[in-house]
Symmetry: C2
Subunit: 382 residues, 2 copies
Amino acid sequence: MKQIKRFFTCALVGVVACVSAIAQQALSSRIDLRSGVVNDDHSVTVRYYAPLAKEVYLCGDLAGRQLLSRDEAGIWSFTTAPLPDELYMYWLEVDGLRILDPGSVHLVRDIASLFNYVIVGDRYAVQPVRHGSVAAVWYPSVMGMRRMSVYTPAGWDGKTPLPVLYLLHGSGGDEQAWLELGRTAVILDNAIAQGRCKPMIVVMPNGNMSEEAAPGYGSKGLVVPGIPAEHRMDGLFETLFPEMIAYIDSHYSTLTDRGNRAVAGLSMGGYHSFWIALNEPEQFAYAGLFSPVYFHPGQQNEHGDWVSPIYADCDKKLLQLNEAGIAIRLYIGSNDFLYEQNVAMRQRLDSLHIPFHYTESTGGHEWRNWRTYLYDFISHIF
Amino acid sequence: MKQIKRFFTCALVGVVACVSAIAQQALSSRIDLRSGVVNDDHSVTVRYYAPLAKEVYLCGDLAGRQLLSRDEAGIWSFTTAPLPDELYMYWLEVDGLRILDPGSVHLVRDIASLFNYVIVGDRYAVQPVRHGSVAAVWYPSVMGMRRMSVYTPAGWDGKTPLPVLYLLHGSGGDEQAWLELGRTAVILDNAIAQGRCKPMIVVMPNGNMSEEAAPGYGSKGLVVPGIPAEHRMDGLFETLFPEMIAYIDSHYSTLTDRGNRAVAGLSMGGYHSFWIALNEPEQFAYAGLFSPVYFHPGQQNEHGDWVSPIYADCDKKLLQLNEAGIAIRLYIGSNDFLYEQNVAMRQRLDSLHIPFHYTESTGGHEWRNWRTYLYDFISHIF
């Protein structure tokens, strides 16, 4: 019977899509329970049916923590003020219990937590423009087969050689982070359509050398994602990076001169990008450091594993890289908890008279900044 | 402060990954809250921290509806009996409120509902074998750009011509359904590694002509998914199918003779497959009908839109197709609500003396059957 209903009851789906999700009381009529809805004035309405609940809060970055209002039918709702263009994350709190909003199926994962999300405005929304392809691709490494995400631009014939951006996630991320939280495919589609950047391939590897793929996609089963304690910032990822470049250049039609190759990353990925650029001076003419981790040479990282030759001779490598020609763009939010590390990085670059472009935004160590940094960075490369 | 914690507190992540998800009471020590965990004996343990809850139930197909037991610390848990190899879907019910399990991040969407899932055993698990690529690809249609999923097998050089299976979803599905609920990439990876089937390209289109892509991936924004009322089974999808074949054959190295092309689908996708095979007798030598919708010619469908010439001359087209040579495999569960329609389909084929292979399984109109049908079907084609 349930099956028959699922198949034939078209009119109700979407209107009371979450009826079955609410066991507290059955709904007897057609009521709009769509939630996370962006209104014409760019306000957002959240709705939740729970007649027996005592209090329901909206949480996250839509509007801070807000008590919803209950109507006579038992539907709780809240509408925010009109909001700026952004991707917002939220959840509900029902009588002290954190839950995901059953009125929306749109979720993103940030490490081990899931959030509902809403996109206000055009910047991060899928536009009626031509869309590139996104592929999950496995490449051979001395560490075994590893998974990466590869964006190729709309209408590419697969033959015309393209420049390549290697885009690295932060600690706790994986090869899906830039696609899901970073909206990379949408940002690239829109920027290319607007003529803001050149068509390019974007390679998003998995930067955790202790895992082969994002949780659920590797052969270790449906593990709880976490921050791998090993092989995070010990030099292994940077050391093996050339095998990824070799795979991309042999499986895609690419422009292989350094002027057509860029590396950028956020947080741990900024740290990786910095050291990859330093150790491969002939490979990259552009480096994007988004809120990068920066351990002053001579310091150990928190695992005490300052051992890789990748991290040796920092000043010498920086001068060599500068000689080869490098356009460094450093981005940081004024409230970022890594701000002081970035002051140290700037001082080091300045002390060696190495030019770089510096952008200081508001905000902290967060995706709303990294999306903006990416949007800017891609317009300055190639 | 929250940011700093996220970055540096490695040891706790994965162990108390869902602490922040529980507002009822703070946990003060390290406690294992991983949930949806498959144990060595293939039982599954679900855990949920809610000291103030009055009753917590496990729901779904893991073990039916089961009351969890509460320990002194306020952790509710339940361990199932050892389970057969399968993908199971579940959710929790806390004091009458349906929620997703915060101890697991592994979710699948079925139309407009999200479920936690667990994979027991090897059949649908990612194995340590070589993995194919999965791409989200946009192709041009007279209806505008449309999104499809394309699986290409591990180690393919992109040049060796391959056979192609077109794999169609059911009503309410989209181009992600076969990948997420159907585990197509895993099934193909494992079957190819076992030598159970030939390496092939699998094309999973979006069969809802009123949408360009799965919800959230098209330019209509973050809509609530539903069953589109228009262009579902009115002949438009089947009529435009040749434009998809043309795209695939011009963008991938394929074997283009009918002996190397198959079409299969579940439910509505079985109906689509049937009519596509009938109308393109020179294109397909294999048809897989998994619990197909079947309206006896002469009947109208529920929208009364029996108008497309695609659906005319059924018997004549069947005989032509039989003449050209077609291997039809029909699968249905004995409890499927479409069982009677399938009796009618078999009678029609028998009355025309058209041979077909018939498999009747247990169970109903459900993914655990469709995954099995796919696993069998791919070993009989090409």
